[in-house]
């Protein structure tokens, strides 16, 4: 006789919940009751965020041949935009650049980098993943190699609040873990942007990669073709109706592929930046659940089940 155990006899005590009207109606009502307040809270948080978005790609190029303008290294690309702050903005105020229509997630782009090279001094020659921006014409490795680094964003912003130059703090805009572990402290840029084609920004060869925070931010690639990346923080409150003037060095080419650029000033809340989606979605689903609960309740009262 085989040894008896509840396990082998499939006789383990089991709980068999059924989808009875009571349980289901209660479940939907509960979800609704939870989701509506969370939705309201999220929406409130999102509304508290003060956000200034200014698209400048078109207005900053005075001529019709936009591509020619941006590709000409000799033209003066300085451009000034002025915004009025509608509400009091509490520091820190995040300064983002927003790019639209840029496929940082394209397979050819996203894989064109060498993480080893960015970390280890000895791995400078590991550029095989970086094609077509791996080595220079005379086979010297480019550091940092690859399309991602090569296309580094190079517009710069100088912010004035009511005419007073305000410091945009560019320290600690990258993830600490990236600075500590992904970008070497002893690795300096070399052969970067020395090729025939210049992609984006150049790098100061005397600063190690771990301190090149703009690069680090840029290299944390975005998953969607529309993205914002942190440019810096203004660590000063800005009052309502203050004038914010930004002098932009409009260098980056989004014109040839029909993308757009914008400058964003934004405060933050517990939910992050301004994003009404979560709040609205919560309210919608909460509402739907409540109405389902109501509907089921009515149906339950009207039409009884067969088995009684």
């Amino acid at each position: 006789m085989p040894a008896y155990s509840k396990f082998t006899q499939q006789e383990l005590p089991a709980c068999k919940p059924l989808l009875t009207p009571e349980i289901v109606i209660a479940a939907f009502a509960l979800i609704g009751a939870l989701f509506v307040p969370i939705g309201l809270a999220s929406l409130h948080a999102s509304r508290q965020v003060v956000e200034l978005v200014h698209r400048y790609d078109a207005s900053c190029v005075p001529v019709d041949d936009k591509v020619g303008f941006i590709q000409n290294s000799r033209t003066d690309k300085t451009c000034t935009v002025t915004m009025t702050v509608p509400k009091y903005m509490k520091s820190p105020i995040h300064v983002y650049y927003l790019i639209d229509g840029f496929y940082q997630n394209h397979r050819r782009y996203v894989r064109s980098r060498s993480d080893k090279q960015l970390r280890y001094k000895s791995a400078a020659h590991l550029t095989s993943d970086c094609v077509p921006e791996g080595d220079t014409a005379d086979h010297a490795p480019i550091v940092p190699c690859g399309l991602v680094a090569w296309s580094l964003f190079n517009d710069t912003y100088t912010v004035r609040v009511n005419g007073v130059v305000t410091q945009v703090n560019k320290k600690d805009i990258a993830w600490k873990s990236d600075k500590n572990n992904k970008f070497g402290k002893n690795i300096y840029p070399s052969n970067f942007q020395k090729g025939r084609l210049i992609g984006g920004a150049t790098l100061n060869e005397s600063i190690p990669l771990s301190e090149q925070e703009d690069l680090i931010v840029w290299m944390r690639t975005a998953a969607l073709p529309t993205f914002r990346k942190l440019y810096g923080r203004i660590e000063k409150d800005i009052n309502a109706n203050d004038n914010v003037t930004v002098v932009i060095q409009n260098n980056y080419n989004t014109y040839s592929f029909g993308g757009s650029k914008a400058l964003v000033l934004s405060t933050a809340s517990w939910i992050g930046g301004k994003n009404n989606f979560i709040g609205i979605a919560y309210l919608t689903i909460g509402g739907l659940c409540l109405s389902l609960a109501m509907g089921f309740l009515v149906l339950y009262m009207v039409k009884r089940r067969y088995v009684s």
């Binding site: 085989p2 919940p17 997630n105 397979r107 944390r220 994003n275 979605a281 089940r305």
Partner: protein
């Protein structure tokens, strides 16, 4: 081609192989290549290998090649280890056979060697009850007549003893001479024909008889038979090892594929086609996008000159991205689940037979689902439905019904008195019982006598006679039978045996009473064969009444009779009989005619009634199985009348008023075909009103198969019950084949060697480890101790297995499709370039780890309790008709995965837009969304929660976070610190809750509406279970529920073949 075997000649020992028996598939050397080759014969494996190879090309691979190579290697290792383990066990059992010690005579000296060391030409010396190690030509036995007995059950399944005789050329050799004999046997090359051996033998000096002596199968001892009732025997090895007749006929059984498996295969092919379509479409769109947009993106730096294969790159990337659509782990997961089902069967206490101490066993662990989908059960009768233990119960002698009060004639005082007072009628009756048979009495060393008989009935009669002091003590080869009655001995010379045939339905012997020299004809047979031949004026009416009465009790009746013969009459007849026996054409008919001429004017002595008791629980089981919608057929080698009686007794057929038995028979072929058509017409018109069944015998079947297979198939598909008698093992298998080829799922159950073919042919073979040995049980997929365990095997284990496999397989597709759809959706926002949203580690872990553990919990799931299933067996129809795994249920899962992919993707990209849209973070959010949904999907689809289930589902969920938090600590990984970041954001948790609510809300709502307002039969039973608690339902409620269930299931029953219901309407009812 011929083979020359030189007896006892060492010089040619190497010309043929030794006696090493090997059933193993692999050797140590060829295991790896052969097993790999075998595994790659599967289409799925080829496909995954191709994908894995494509992934080695860095230009196109979206993720690291490890995502496919890893799981592929695991799958291969798991399958290979299983094969290796099985093969190792075969090796061990072979080794046991090969290492057996066997006596061999070489140049007159007897030595013991290992069985594998026997070579062709060796003389093998066997003792009583030895298993014969290789095929031998018998050259000597301990019996002065030169005969020996062998049991061939392992070879052909026949349990009666066979006599084997030494060739005439060896007749006069002493045992010393045998050891030194030299000669040559000329025989054909090895074949698998166990009934034929055409060879000859010549002996060399010093035995001078230099003549060719013909050999037949009767001169052989074949491997795996047993030597019985013979002190010793010796023979020359002619075929050894795997070249023996039994070795050559041992085929490797084809692996069986369950209906659920083939459905899964079909779905896989459908997904594969879908995948190819998606890949082509996306590939084309990707190429167009590249040419129209991609080339303008300066940061992509597309070269102006591109290699010729450039147009292939994007489609191939999508192919690799979409390859996960077909779940690589499905086979391993299912194999694992099936292994557990098999273990549950092995361990089931309620299928343990305490009488014989045998637990149920599943030799084939891969086909449990088929048990739950069985449509036809083809059952052997003797030993399967009955106990195969014939017991003499009653008799009717000259007007007295003995045993009708006690139920046992042997305990009836009147009979015992009649015996002790030597009532002449009773004495004669007993004499016929003891003598009129072909039983061989075997005297063992301690003086007790046992009987070996070809038929169990004869054995029962002889045993009964001996209990009534009429002992058959010996029968020697010259034909003298010794009978001991009340201590005094009588001698009879058996002159002729008029053998039993199914046409004659009787057998007789002619004996000469040695003392008086009187000639007697003793007869026994079926009543309808004996009564017409009784002497005129005999009062057959009372006998007929007795027969009728016994039949109704389910007893097997035989009518005994005798006739005094004049010497002249016998002599004259004997001559005719000799002529007929020697005639070359139409011998059987001639013999029957001659026999008939003698079997006239028989004086009827009485009626015997033998009981072959039904096994415990058989009628109930058959009733239950029939109620569950399974058609039960009885296939037996037995006579029609007995078969029908047993059929009535075990609820297989309904008595006349409610049921009707359509008999398909006739004298000529046309008669048979006509009666077949007639049966078909009746079946068509009256099936609804009456419980119809048809009866046919082996001869009719032979003709029908030859001439009218189509009508028979129609009949077979309509008939819920059939009794097929006088079936040969081949015909049993043919019947299974007919049902199988018409698309029905068959289960064959039997206990004897004659059932082996049908068991192997059927989708599911069940063997009863019974009295006829373990032959059937060994060949079967499942072996059980008693027929009654079949109901648990089918209704409990089969049904659960099917339900569980249905869930596991479809869920496997669901989770693979989910992740794949997300990849596809993402590709629309990544420029159709084939970027993978998930990183390699996540993808691999998702398939192998995160999603395969929770789904395994379903192997503990029970939708309704065992008790409920057994109370409402009609619920089996649900799984029988494949309602849980078919195209429409799959479409539902497909839709669900598409919906969930949209939910996960849209919520993720909206909640993680703008400054949060970091690739690594977004990918982890989407992945966690999938994991959250998985946990809830499994929870919603689980019917009963036990501890392991809850632990695994939510433990896996916790494990996901643990693993990712740990992986986040590894600086070299791309997802370094990502999970830490996410867990600290309230918005991450809010997003997860949103995904779950949006994903599961509609599923829950739809499920609820269906459960409550269009319930399926299973839902109804679940509700009943819940309201009843564990209390027994009152009778009227039970019956009303049964009616309601039947109502729900009627459509199912009718449209069993068309199982495809419209999408999302799972309910069988149409209100």
């Amino acid at each position: 081609m011929q083979r020359f075997v030189y007896i006892n000649d060492e010089s040619c020992r190497d010309s043929y192989r030794d006696n090493r028996v090997s059933n193993t598939k692999y050797t140590l050397w060829n295991f790896l290549p052969k097993n790999l080759l075998e595994q790659f014969r599967r289409f799925m494996n080829q496909y995954f290998l191709l994908i894995a190879c494509l992934q080695l090309w860095p230009t196109i691979t979206p993720v690291s090649p490890a995502t496919t190579w890893g799981p592929l290697a695991i799958i291969f290792i798991v399958s290979a280890s299983k094969e290796a383990w099985d093969d190792y066990n075969r090796y061990l059992s072979d080794k046991k056979v090969n290492e057996r010690r066997i006596w061999v005579v070489k140049d007159g000296i007897r030595r013991q060697i290992k069985a594998r060391g026997i070579h062709v030409g060796n003389i093998v010396w066997l003792h009583e009850n030895d298993e014969i190690p290789c095929d031998l030509v018998l050259i000597g036995t301990s019996d002065p007549q030169g005969i020996c007995y062998v049991e061939t059950a392992a070879l052909d399944g026949e349990t009666d003893l066979k006599t084997r005789i030494i060739p005439s050329i060896c007749a006069d050799l002493s045992s010393e001479q045998l050891g030194k004999i030299k000669g040559v046997v000329e025989c054909p090359n090895p074949d698998n024909d166990i009934r034929r051996f055409d060879a000859n033998m010549r002996l060399f000096p010093p035995i001078i008889d230099n003549e060719k002596c013909p050999l037949t199968i009767n001169n052989t001892l074949l491997q795996s038979c047993y030597l019985r009732y013979t002190e010793w025997a010796c023979g020359v090895a002619i075929y050894t090892g795997n070249e023996t007749k039994s070795g050559m006929s041992r085929g490797t059984a084809e692996p069986k594929l369950t209906a659920a498996d083939s459905m899964i295969d079909k779905l896989t092919v459908a997904i594969f086609i879908f995948q190819i379509a998606v890949v082509l479409l996306l590939g084309l769109a990707g190429n167009i996008w590249k040419d129209s947009h991609g080339c303008k993106l300066w940061y992509l730096m597309y070269p102006a000159e591109r290699p010729w294969y450039d147009f292939l790159v994007i489609p191939l990337r999508f192919e690799l991205l979409c390859s996960i659509m077909i779940p690589i782990s499905i086979k391993v997961t299912l194999d694992l689940a099936k292994g557990v089902y098999a273990k549950f069967i092995d361990c089931d206490d309620q299928m343990f037979d305490p009488e014989t101490n045998t637990p149920a066993h599943s030799a084939n662990t891969a086909i449990s689902e088929d048990l739950g989908q069985v449509e036809y059960i083809l059952s052997d009768k003797t030993g399967t439905l009955t106990e195969n233990r014939m017991i003499f119960r009653r008799c009717y002698i000259s007007g007295v019904l003995y045993g009708d009060k006690t139920g046992d004639a042997l305990k009836d005082a009147r009979l015992l008195n009649a015996v002790s007072s030597k009532d002449p009628d009773v004495v004669k009756f007993l004499m016929v019982m003891a003598l009129c048979n072909t039983v061989v009495p075997i005297k063992s060393n301690d003086g007790t006598i046992s009987y070996k008989a070809q038929s169990q009935d004869e054995e029962a009669l002889v045993n009964a006679a001996s209990n009534l002091n009429m002992l058959l003590t010996s029968k020697d080869s010259s034909g003298i039978a010794e009978i001991c009655f009340n201590g005094s001995k009588f001698y009879y010379e058996v002159l002729d045996v008029l053998e039993f045939t199914s046409d004659r339905k009787r057998m007789s012997i002619v004996v000469k009473e040695v003392k008086s020299g009187k000639f007697l004809l003793l007869t026994k047979g079926a009543d309808e064969a004996i009564f017409p031949r009784s002497c005129p004026g005999e009062q057959t009416k009372t006998y007929l009444e007795a027969v009728e009465m016994y039949s109704h009790l389910g007893l097997r009746t035989l009518c005994l009779g005798c006739r005094d013969l004049e010497e002249d009459e016998y002599k004259e007849w004997s001559k005719k009989f000799q002529d007929a026996s020697c005639s070359l054409d139409n011998r059987e008919h001639k013999i029957a005619e001659v026999c008939n001429s003698l079997e006239q004017g028989i004086h009827i002595l009485g009626i015997t009634a033998i009981e072959d008791r039904l096994q415990d629980g058989v009628p109930e089981t058959i009733k239950l199985l029939r109620k569950a919608g399974i058609n039960v057929w009885m296939l037996t080698g037995d006579k029609q009348t007995t078969a029908i009686q047993i059929g009535l007794l075990c609820n297989l057929i309904t008595p006349e008023s409610k049921g009707q038995l359509l008999s398909i028979n006739g004298k000529t072929e046309d008669d048979i075909l006509q009666s077949l058509e007639r049966a078909l017409t009746i079946m068509k018109t009256a099936l609804e009103r009456k419980d119809l069944a048809f009866v046919l015998d082996g001869w009719a079947l032979e003709i029908i198969l030859k001439r009218s297979l189509e009508s028979f198939t129609k009949l077979a598909m309509m008939s819920r019950t059939a009794i097929c008698c006088r079936m040969t093992p081949l015909q049993k298998a043919q019947l299974v084949g007919i049902l199988k080829s018409s698309g029905s799922l068959t289960l064959a159950i039997g206990d004897g060697g004659n059932d082996v073919r049908m068991i192997q042919e059927a989708n599911v073979g069940v063997g009863i480890s019974g009295r006829e040995g373990l032959q059937a049980a060994r060949a079967a997929d499942y072996s059980i101790g008693k027929f009654k365990f079949l109901r648990r095997l089918i209704l409990v284990h089969g049904r659960y297995s099917y339900n569980r496999t249905a869930f596991i397989s479809q869920y496997s597709f669901y989770k693979s499709l989910l992740i794949c759809f997300i990849q596809i959706l993402f590709s629309f926002s990544s420029g159709l370039s084939g970027t993978s949203i998930f990183n390699s580690i996540s993808l691999m872990a998702y398939n192998v780890f995160y999603t395969s553990l929770p789904v395994m919990t379903i192997i503990f799931d029970k939708d309704i309790s065992e008790a409920t299933v057994l109370r409402y067996p009609q619920i089996l129809l649900y799984s029988q008709a494949g309602r849980l795994l078919n195209r429409s249920t799959f479409a539902e899962w497909f839709g669900r995965s598409l919906y969930h992919a949209f939910v996960v993707f849209l919520i993720t990209i909206n909640a993680y837009a703008d400054e949060k849209s970091d690739m690594e973070e977004l990918s982890m959010v989407a992945l966690s969304g999938c994991i959250w949904l998985q946990a809830f999907v499994v929870t919603l689809d689980t019917n009963s929660f036990t501890c392991p289930q809850i632990t695994l589902i939510w433990g896996n969920f916790v494990a996901f976070y643990m693993i990712n938090l740990i992986l986040s600590a590894v600086p070299t990984l791309q997802m370094h610190t990502v999970m830490w970041h996410l867990c600290n954001q309230p918005s991450y948790w809010i997003t997860m809750a949103l995904i779950v609510a949006a994903g599961m809300g509609p599923v829950l709502a739809l499920r609820y509406l269906r459960n409550v307002y269009r319930p399926s039969a299973i839902d109804v039973l679940q509700q009943i279970e819940q309201t009843d608690g564990h209390a027994q339902a009152p009778g009227n409620l039970e019956s009303s529920t049964g009616t309601y269930l039947d109502y729900l299931l009627t459509d199912l029953r009718r449209n069993k073949s068309s199982i495809h219901q419209p999408l999302l309407s799972d309910s069988a009812s149409s209100r």
